[in-house]
């Protein structure tokens, strides 16, 4: 963000105060017209830095606001700079909050933003929130303040209930999208769905798959029936197969479908009917849900899979045989999310059936190893890499891995942009050689020159981080856990990766020297997270003192040594220290 806050209107820019700028060759109207075609955030940012009149033209023509860290800027600053915003994306908590590493009530409450938007952007149409706390009060304010409001996305948000959603359904007459993903909110209640008015028919996207509530099926059926432009429908597991069939009959045009539960006893007639309902969905590109689907009823889907590009099986623990049979019908698959119950055998089938695969995420069915299930190993990953050469995104949870396997995998698939490997036992070495996994990640960063995101795991020494610093020139996000030997490792990364934006570290032997070595770098990054490392309060205070444009926040664990800085969150901000920090967050 450019701290230079000019409030000039475009026509005055030529007469602005301060050092006179040479006359622009373009009239402002022309400049604005041209700039209104620029959508890319990065381009707009570059444009705003050229000269003052460009800065002004840019701010007047920007309609989409993206704020990657809600505390990096304040609603006031945003409102002053951008007068004509129609779409806002706001992200709040650091990613590790997904894994219970932040106490409740940490912050990232959207309310103060909405209050400002209600004042300054009455024509707001879209709001996309991620990891923010959204109360019913906020949803009510949203519903009543923006008459043209169209699209709401709540991703990993918490704090709301049935009442807030009721307000949205009742008052947003022009709503086209209501997309609730990965809701962290407890029992919500399903009455909201019945609050859409009888003549309301503009919905294009409806996703309530992560809400734990029962909705009125009759109202849902009527709603789906009248929304002729509906292209995304993701229901939750309270919807049965037969109910789903009725919805599909109303909406065969769907492009994205999240089914309900497959746990139902179907008569042969019902089976045929639902099979034919699925076959009529010729535009289906994305499929998810499938709770409790077993080999018994999975085949009803086969007719809808020909044009499928994204199959999300992360809510149903399939075995390898039924998984393999399903894949035969999905030759155009580009993205697959699956649970490791399919085992290596299932992944071999994936390698044979889906040559166009670009993204694979394998989730653990047994993350705490309570049942000693096999899951997937390096063999499964190898099999996929052999058959799916276009792989560029992988998230792989496993219990064992070898350096040799990873070396081969990246040779097979050098185009990785996202490589997230999670060997679930902390600090585990190569299981064949007992060596650290350094060479695996060395191969990843050397071979995959387009790598933007990396998560490392297993037993790792500083060598891994030397390699990362030396080779990962496009790396933007790095996640590290239980790794490294000394400060040197972290220093290599901070000195070496020019495009680094997000660094999250837990349980590593990195201390104050490492923390401080990155002081200037943090101003060019979105944020740094360090927890359970060797950083002390003294080191954090020093960082805070030397870098006034960074917010250095510490959360201490109860009963721990006073000098330790247990959880440290560092981020650049033009808004100064948080004014809403709860007592357990110490701003230094």
């Amino acid at each position: 963000m450019d701290p230079d806050q000019s409030e000039d209107s475009p026509s005055n820019s030529a007469n602005s105060h301060g050092p006179t700028q040479p006359q622009s060759p373009f009239p402002d109207e022309v400049l604005e017209k041209v700039l209104s075609f620029i959508d890319s955030r990065k381009d707009r940012s570059s444009v705003s830095l050229v000269r003052k009149d460009w800065y002004n033209a840019e701010r007047w023509t920007r309609s989409k606001l993206f704020i990657g860290n809600c505390y990096s800027v304040s609603p006031e600053i945003v409102a002053r700079r951008f007068p004509r915003i129609k779409s806002v994306t706001l992200k709040g908590k650091p990613r590790f909050s997904d894994f219970n590493m932040l106490p409740r009530d940490w912050g990232a409450n959207v309310h103060s933003w909405l209050v400002m938007f209600a004042k300054v952007y009455p024509f707001l149409e879209e709001l996309r929130l991620k990891r923010m706390t959204v109360t019913d009060e906020s949803l009510e304010l949203l519903a009543k303040s923006f008459p043209r409001f169209k699209a709401l996305t709540l991703s990993s948000c918490d704090g709301f209930s049935d009442n807030g959603l009721k307000a949205i359904a009742s008052h947003c007459r022009n709503l086209t999208e209501l997309d609730i993903q990965d809701s962290v909110t407890d029992d919500v209640g399903g009455g909201w769905l019945s609050c859409f008015p009888e003549n309301f028919a503009s919905l294009e996207v409806l996703n309530f798959s992560s809400l734990n509530c029962e909705v009125s099926f009759d109202d849902l059926e009527r709603l789906v029936g009248r929304c002729k432009s509906l292209r995304v429908l993701k229901v939750n597991d309270s919807i049965t197969l037969d109910q789903l069939r009725r919805l599909l009959v109303h909406a065969p045009q769907l492009m994205e479908l999240g089914t309900g539960s497959f746990m139902q006893e179907l008569t042969p007639r019902q089976y045929e009917d639902i099979e034919s309902a699925f076959s009529n969905c010729r535009n289906l590109q994305v499929l998810s849900g499938l709770w409790e689907a077993t080999s018994l009823y999975l085949p009803v889907l086969y007719g809808a899979c020909a044009s499928l590009t994204f199959l999300n099986l992360s809510d149903v623990a399939l075995q390898s045989s039924e998984f393999a049979k399903l894949l035969v019908h999905c030759p155009n698959l580009r993205r697959l999310w699956v649970i490791d119950t399919v085992e290596d055998k299932g992944l071999e089938a994936l390698g044979s059936s889906c040559p166009l695969l670009e993204e694979l995420r394998v989730f653990p069915s047994d993350p705490y190893d309570r049942h000693h299930r096999d899951g997937v190993t390096e063999l499964g990953f190898l099999a996929v890499s052999r058959g799916c050469r276009k792989l560029r995104y992988v998230l792989y949870f496993c219990r064992r891995m070898t350096n040799a396997a990873v070396v081969t995998i990246v040779q097979n698939c050098p185009d990785f942009t996202h490589f997230r490997l999670c060997i679930m036992t902390p600090g585990q070495p190569d299981y064949l050689t007992n060596e650290p996994m350094d060479e695996a990640f060395a191969a990843v960063v050397k071979t995959c020159t387009k790598l933007k995101r990396l998560s490392v795991s297993g037993l790792l020494t500083d060598l891994t981080f030397e390699y990362i610093g030396k080779y990962a020139k496009n790396l933007e996000t790095l996640s590290v856990a239980f790794a490294g030997s000394s400060d040197w490792g972290m220093q290599c990364v901070l000195e070496g990766c020019p495009k680094l934006r997000k660094l999250e570290i837990r349980d590593c032997p990195f201390g104050n020297a490492a923390l401080l070595s990155g002081r200037e770098k943090y101003e060019m990054m979105r944020s740094l997270w360090m927890s359970s490392c060797n950083v002390t309060m003294k080191g954090c205070r020093l960082l805070a003192r030397e870098m006034p444009r960074l917010n250095v926040e510490v959360i201490k664990d109860e009963g721990n040594d006073d000098g330790q800085a247990d959880r440290v969150y560092v981020y650049r901000s033009v808004a100064g220290p948080r004014r809403d920090a709860p007592p357990f967050v110490l701003t230094l």
């Binding site: 590790f96 997904d98 239980f482 490392c533």
Partner: protein, 190 residues
């Protein structure tokens, strides 16, 4: 395990290991304090590759349940809850009571460990020391003294084998081994 431990000392990781206590306090204090405070990862896990929590250091006590590290593995809670809920069903098994006409007490079996009717019937035969005979859709169980029946979700008494195995597993509430003569009325044959 030993190979790993010696490797760890080669790297001299101990010098940089995370410790909860002040330098100089011994290992056992760390294990105890972590057992109390479940919030942080065990320091030794950094160099104690292959072990979970503090289990490998804790030689003297009985093997404790594996110490769960907060936020690890990095799986989102809603996803965990979904799978945990489904898993507890299979974890505790699908136990149903089995009664046999004339026997003084009942038995219990776990349906989830069988892959189909053949295995189940074999197990019943073995458990009750009897033969069950051959199943046919028309005539039920022919050629034996006993026939296996079950009570379904609606409370009705059904003959084992009529519906697909998966459907049977989800609808069977208890099993009853009936004397052949009593079971003849259940056969599908007219």
């Amino acid at each position: 395990m030993e190979g790993v431990m010696s490797h760890a000392s080669d790297l001299n990781l101990k010098a940089t290991e995370l410790r909860l206590g002040l330098p100089g306090t011994d290992e056992r204090d760390d294990v105890e304090s972590v057992a109390r405070n479940n919030k942080r990862a065990l320091p030794e896990s950094a160099n104690d590759s292959g072990s979970k929590g503090g289990k490998s250091i804790d030689h003297e006590n009985a093997p404790a349940p594996k110490a769960q590290i907060v936020g690890w593995p990095p799986v989102r809670s809603y996803r965990k809850n979904n799978l945990e809920a489904k898993k507890t069903e299979t974890e505790t098994g699908m136990y149903v009571k089995v009664s046999m006409d004339g026997a003084p007490y009942l038995r219990k079996i776990d349906l989830s460990i069988y892959n189909g009717y053949a295995e189940l019937l074999k197990a019943l035969e073995s458990m009750f020391k009897l033969t069950i005979g051959d199943y046919s859709e028309r005539e039920g169980y022919k050629g034996s003294e006993y026939a296996p029946a079950y009570e379904d979700k609606d409370g009705d008494l059904m003959l084992v084998g009529d519906v697909p195995w998966d459907m049977f597993m989800s609808s069977c509430k208890r099993l009853r081994i009936m004397k052949g003569s009593d079971a003849s009325g259940l056969g599908c044959g007219v």
